[in-house]
Symmetry: C2
Subunit: 361 residues, 2 copies
């Protein structure tokens, strides 16, 4: 109001209509800021109370591409931060057909029965709202979706893994602030998304099926090495024998890798998500792991280095996109690549040229 009366004083000396207009604008701005502040405060306090509608609304703001939504989302996240972090974050991956949804439903039901609150998120950069995404079809988790202690949210849409990963990391904070003590993040066995998910969870679980002899086939480089446990799903009926064989094969394979920084020796276990068998064993593994790494300090150390990773990664991504998205650089890059291909310059000299061009822009 002090600002408004100041403007009124100005009015007497410098033309009425424009001053009145700026006066009205100032008041409007203040009102809108207050409204936004009220809405932000309101959302935050409701999220912290565990209100699911407020949680969903806040996540929608995080996922929005609208500038003002993002500003509000940042304010909400900042206010939620002191209430976050008290959870176990579990990444789950596996090729399509391995039974991820059924497994997550079974694990989720097991955990909620124990009184836990479970949030299920997904990272799938290929998904768009129109195309649908993993977790998009909630009917595949029909028990969990009706469960009041569970919260299921499909992958945010987005073309860049960096963008999707950021939104998911921020959604984790919101879910934790809302009292979810177990965060499950599902991803599909494609591209770089496993690495992103591995960098935001405490425990990484690989779901597999018993195959016919070629147990390791089709696993992308490094994924076995990232796993803290491999659960061989559909280990039921006629599949039981093959699953037991697969278990020994994987155990052997896991022993060939160097020791992890967590000092945890990855485990292999059998389960049948459909028959809800072996699910408790998987969870026992997670609990043993968490108690081990909380004991030896790795749990905290890992979360800290994950934070550092995301900080640096965000900066690197932005530096690159700022550089390569300049139209002058785009044109010059094509030219330099051609010169390199023709053997008229080296990649290093071409890079120097582009960096010089950037400094002259």
């Amino acid at each position: 109001m002090a600002k408004a009366s100041k403007t009124s004083a100005l009015e007497e000396t410098s033309g009425v209509s424009s001053a009145a207009l700026s006066n009205a604008n100032a008041i409007k701005n203040i009102q809108e800021k207050r409204k936004l502040q009220r809405s932000t405060d309101d959302l935050v306090s409701k999220v912290i109370e565990g209100n699911i509608t407020a949680l969903s609304q806040s996540i929608t703001l995080v996922e929005s591409t609208n500038r003002s939504h993002l500003n509000q989302a940042n304010a909400i996240i900042k206010a939620c931060l002191p209430y976050a972090n008290n959870s176990v974050r579990i990444g789950i991956t596996g090729v399509p057909g391995v039974g991820k949804s059924t497994f997550i439903e079974a694990l989720g039901m097991h955990l909620t029965t124990q009184g836990k609150k479970v949030a299920v998120l997904a990272v799938d950069p290929s998904s768009t709202l129109s195309k649908g995404s993993i977790l998009g079809d909630k009917t595949r988790m029909e028990d969990l979706v009706k469960n009041e202690q569970a919260f299921i949210r499909p992958s945010p849409s987005g073309s860049s893994l960096g963008g999707v990963a950021r939104k998911t990391r921020e959604t984790i904070i919101l879910c934790e602030a809302a009292g979810f003590d177990t965060i499950i993040i599902e991803t599909v066995g494609v591209g770089q998304s496993e690495i992103a998910v591995h960098s935001m969870v405490d425990f990484f679980l690989l779901l597999k099926l018993a195959g016919a002899g070629d147990e390791l086939q089709g696993i992308k480089r490094g994924i076995i090495e990232m796993a803290d446990a491999i659960a061989i799903n559909k280990a039921d009926g006629e599949n039981k024998k093959a699953s037991k064989m697969a278990k020994s094969e994987f155990k052997r394979a896991l022993h060939l890798y160097p020791e992890k920084e967590s000092q945890w020796q990855p485990k292999v276990t059998l389960c049948s998500a459909l028959h809800r068998e072996g699910i408790a064993d998987v969870w026992e593994l997670v609990e043993t792991y968490v108690s081990n790494v909380k004991g030896n300090g790795f749990f905290e150390k890992n979360r800290k280095s994950q934070n550092k990773f995301w900080l640096l990664q965000t900066i690197e991504d932005r530096l690159k996109s700022e550089f390569f998205n300049q139209s002058e650089i785009k044109i010059a890059l094509e030219k330099q690549l051609l010169l390199v291909a023709e053997g008229k310059t080296t990649p290093f000299a071409a890079a120097e040229n582009l960096l010089k061009l950037k400094n002259s822009l």
Copy 2:
């Protein structure tokens, strides 16, 4: 000389002593530039003739940290480029003790006997001139070092892999211009240097020893996947049986990986570098590979994408170092990391802060 007489004319109107001085400086500059040009032209023509002294001198310029040396080095490389590229580039890696030097000596002698000219380089970012480096002790290759068709150069020193890799890539160009048709690049089985070497060669060879059952032990993530062939060395005497078993184990392991873009199925072979056995077989593999990938277009495609990789990598490295080496950023980064660790901000908000700070500097 035209410039010099102009300066003399100026002398009459504007004070003698300073004009005479600038006159003398201008002449000196021109003379030095001409001298440098003569020295550059001279080195280039000698390198192209295959003069080893000129090649060594040029590599020394490439490896120098002196600005004017680097300018001359760049001019030499540019002039050599049209004469480069006609070679097969082979990367060789393996843990210490596997017999890399003995193997390279055996392979080098085999190739020079066939009339080939072999350059042996190394990538070892941990080496410094004082500490010595792989290939530093040329006595380990006493036949090859005396061989006139061979050229051996230890790893350039440097603390950053990027710097060492760049110098090695440029040295490859110089060696090729000097008529070396086979370039062997040795690296040690540590850190990221395999990835760097893999990105500058046509064929990547992993040397292994037969172990006792744990054939895959100790191989870093991704190295088996990079290999176009695995040669099990020291397959002689009592070791022969274990080596044959290791061969089948590796063959089995290699089959588990997805098909390479080169459409080449990696091979496993036995050799004894000490007894110079199986060396011809290794070379035959390389020749089959090269003929295959020249046939299906991968050879050219791969070199092109390697060039693009190095161009982009050089830019990314520079963008990062320019950003993170600013003292204001260094201080702010530490502060932001602390805030993130204390849960007072998110990695993404912290990154935004640092990027804003950069724009205000």
